[in-house]
Amino acid sequence: MSMKSRRHLPLMGFGIFLALLMTLVAACTETVEVPGETVIVEKEVIKEVEVPGETVIVEKEVVKTVEVEKVVEVIATAVPEIQDPGFVLSALEANPKRGGIFREAIPVSLNAFDVLQGGGIHIIAPVYNKLVQRNVMDGLRTIVPDLVQTWETTSDAKEFTLNLRQMVTYHDGSPFNADDVIANLNRMIDPPEGVTSAAKDTLVAVDSVDKIDDYTVKFTLNNPTPYFLEILVAGNMVIYSDEELNANNGDLRRIEIPTGTGPFAFDDHAPDERWKLRSNPDYFVPGLPYLDGVDVVHAVTWPERGTAVLTGQADYSFNVSRGTWDEGQKRADISVAETPCLWSHNVAFNNEKPPFDDPRIRKAIHLAVSRQVQIDGYRPVWEPTFVTRWIPVPSPYATGLGQIATMPGYRADKTEDIAEAQRLMAEAGYPDGFDTEIVTWNGAPTAEVATPLFVDMLNKALGINAEIRVIERFTGGEILASGDYELDRGYSFGGSLLDPYLMWNNFFRTGANQNWSRYSNADLDAVLDKLAGELDPIKRQELFNEGMDIMDEDPPVYHIGFCAWSPMWYNYVKGLNLQIRSLGSNTDSWETTWLDK
């Protein structure tokens, strides 16, 4: 009997467990301050390279006096570039220790091995290199060489000549040269039959890629593209072997796994379970990587990732649940951060379906539905989100968060906004609201928290009754593409660039290939036309401001804001500069990572 009693002890403790559970949930609802400092740091760096940030007006006159030739010296770009032929990537800390296995907890499912076709770059990024990369040494604030040694550009930003590193080899021993770059870029721009290029949309400006010699390539662009190097830092811009591409007709989806030049080589993997990468002893950066290898454990959900770190099964995860993040924050041996990311939370309007074809209706919703209430509501079970306008937080062109917090529609106090929204509804012929339908994914955070919250506010503020249609995530793309929706909570816009031109051009231009809200605004199209050829950063800022004003008046979607990630790691993880990062990343190469233990 005593054994049996012992067996039932856990049951008697359920009350206590429940209390603990409730405490954890309560802890999750604490308000987390927006990391404004991160944004400020970003602006400071931009000023160093003469790209105006928030103080545009003050500096405007000064910049106007710069001669055209001056612009050639400092090409305008959203992200500053470091072009030092002697630049060598390394850990910032002195005397980094060598050896050890770095353990990361992330989802390790991948749909293909070809990153251009949806392959999980978040898992296999360390196997590859890109031409250029964001600089891990300064918290991803600048662009630095990767497979490229140096680059030259013309004053009109229409030609970029890249000088490639020599003596770089793939893990299979084959040498890297200009042919690899040409083959990869051509595949991205004009994929062979049956190959889908996720990078195609961002490379529309590229007219041709030409080989000058074995270690020099020239990009000729059809439009001035001051942010061109930033395009090349995107996760899927990895350089595969020309030989391997040719051997597989340009389709690497089923090749386990294509060779790369990266700091770590593929060792082993078990689907939905783990990946093992071992260090590349022939890596072209002297002294790197510091680690012996990387073990990636499968942690699908954010709580799993968080508990993996909290229980010492992983050293790091790039995005953990709020509850585990809070637990980590309390621990002396663990650090946490909140880093902005470049995708957004929205509810798409089908701009072609009445009454959402009426800008007054869309603006009424933009004004009346509180972003703050939604974010606070879903943050405990989903992810933090900044209240932003149409540009992600880390972009130098973004409106400051402080200013946004006072703007109609974005501000927390809804009294005036709801009154104006109701006036617009009445003007549009819907003083008492209307019935509609909202599509939402079947994931609990979306279907059970975020969408009901939105629907509730829509109803209370404007009398709009939205029936929720829950769909499976995999059908989401088809529904958006077919237009079989009125409102859609699964929609997201974003990209990999801090310069928002391409993002807007792909998602909001009339007839654009990712314009799933079917938005059309001639004024915004005109702004985009001007942006396509504009080099002057001041004028670009003005045009982006104009574009944002247009979308505030005539919203293409109900935009809640751009998201943030919640990384968590042990203090002994060094070389990543996670605390000072201006931008979230899930495609780190771990080449400068080392373990202080």
């Binding site: 856990p10 078990a270 995999f474 088809e478 593409a481 990712q514």
Partner: protein, 340 residues
């Protein structure tokens, strides 16, 4: 059909006639399994293809965002993967793979399905068997005690806990256990798969959680079933006769009553095992155990037709054989039952 149980007064089990009858019965059952399994293959093959949602249509990026393919891109992607071929050719290809024992490769990650089933099925079989054993170890004695001391305080306490454990969802129990171990001891079972022969301690850490929470729930059902059937058997004439001739109560219960009461318990337990071998997805998710059930659900979500088809077919085979095994076990447990 010749499958009707036939009473025999004899305790003789394995005579030549009985063996032949048993063999005929087994062959008949196996032959009947063929159309059943064929039906399963057709059903799952068609079902996966008529489900709305094609993963090729959209490329999702981890961490956010998606790129929806144009119609031309989508059709090319399908063609490239051989999905534009007639369905009967795709079905025939699959059947050829199955008969080769190959089962093909995952649509997405290209790992052989056979390897996935071996690797992940092992862990599922482990916790399923352990759960069944646990359910017997806990459920049968508890049911027995409740039946012997029926309507006493012991019976009330047992019934309370049995009802409680039947009512509590196993996945909730699993989540609670994980939450406590993480928050109180900063410990959780290892993520991933560690096989028994690689590291027995870690293997046990992985499978014990699911085995216990499922085993307790199954044990509760068994206890209830055992109590009910025992109470019924206690009222039988042969039990009364055993008592009246002065047999010790322990022998009456164990030798006469329990042996006859165990058949329905065995049936329930066999079906539970078959269901568990299919994987308890919710519990696997709660404990982050990458078992076969989770592989199936993920395959369905990602429309990985190859893995779904093969795992469902495997479940069909498992169900057929476990049902057959239960039927055959009747013959050994109850001398009155023979097949002919």
């Amino acid at each position: 059909m010749g499958s009707t149980p036939r009473a025999s007064p004899s305790l003789q089990c394995l005579t030549g006639d009985t063996n032949n009858a048993m063999r005929t019965y087994v062959i008949q059952r196996l032959l009947l399994a063929i159309p059943t399994l064929f039906g399963i293959t057709v059903l799952i093959f068609v079902a996966m293809r008529v489900l709305p949602g094609d993963p090729l249509k959209t490329i999702y990026f981890e961490g956010g965002g998606a790129r929806i393919l144009s119609e031309e891109e989508y059709l090319e992607a399908r063609k490239n993967l051989g999905l534009d071929r007639p369905l009967y050719i795709q079905y025939a290809d699959w059947m050829i793979d199955v008969f080769r024992g190959d089962m093909g490769r995952s649509f997405w990650h290209q790992k052989p399905i056979r390897e996935t089933i071996q690797r992940r099925g092992t862990i599922t079989v482990e916790y399923a068997l352990l759960a069944v054993i646990l359910s017997w170890v806990v459920g049968l004695p508890v049911g027995l005690i409740a039946a012997v001391w029926r309507n006493s305080w012991v019976d009330y306490v047992v019934r309370f806990f049995v009802t409680l454990f039947m009512a509590i969802p196993s996945f909730w129990l699993g989540l609670t256990v994980i939450l406590i171990t993480v928050l109180v001891w900063s410990w959780r079972p290892p993520l991933g798969i560690v096989h028994l022969w690689d590291n027995p301690v870690q293997n046990m850490q992985i499978i014990l959680g699911p085995a216990i929470v499922i085993g307790v729930a199954m044990g509760a059902i068994l206890a209830r079933m055992a109590r009910a059937t025992l109470l019924e058997v206690f009222r039988e004439d042969y039990v009364r006769t055993a008592r009246s001739k002065g047999l010790a109560e322990r022998l009456v219960v164990v030798r006469h009553a329990l042996r006859n009461a165990i058949l329905p318990v065995l049936t329930i337990s066999g079906l539970q095992l078959a269901a568990l071998l299919g994987g308890s997805v919710a519990v696997e998710r709660a404990f982050s155990v990458p078992g076969l059930g989770f592989a199936l659900v993920k395959g369905i979500q990602e429309r990985d037709w190859v893995i779904v088809q093969n795992v469902v077919l495997l479940y069909g085979v498992v169900f057929v054989f476990i049902n057959l095994a239960i039927d055959l076990a009747y013959g050994f447990l109850d001398p009155r039952i023979r097949y002919g």
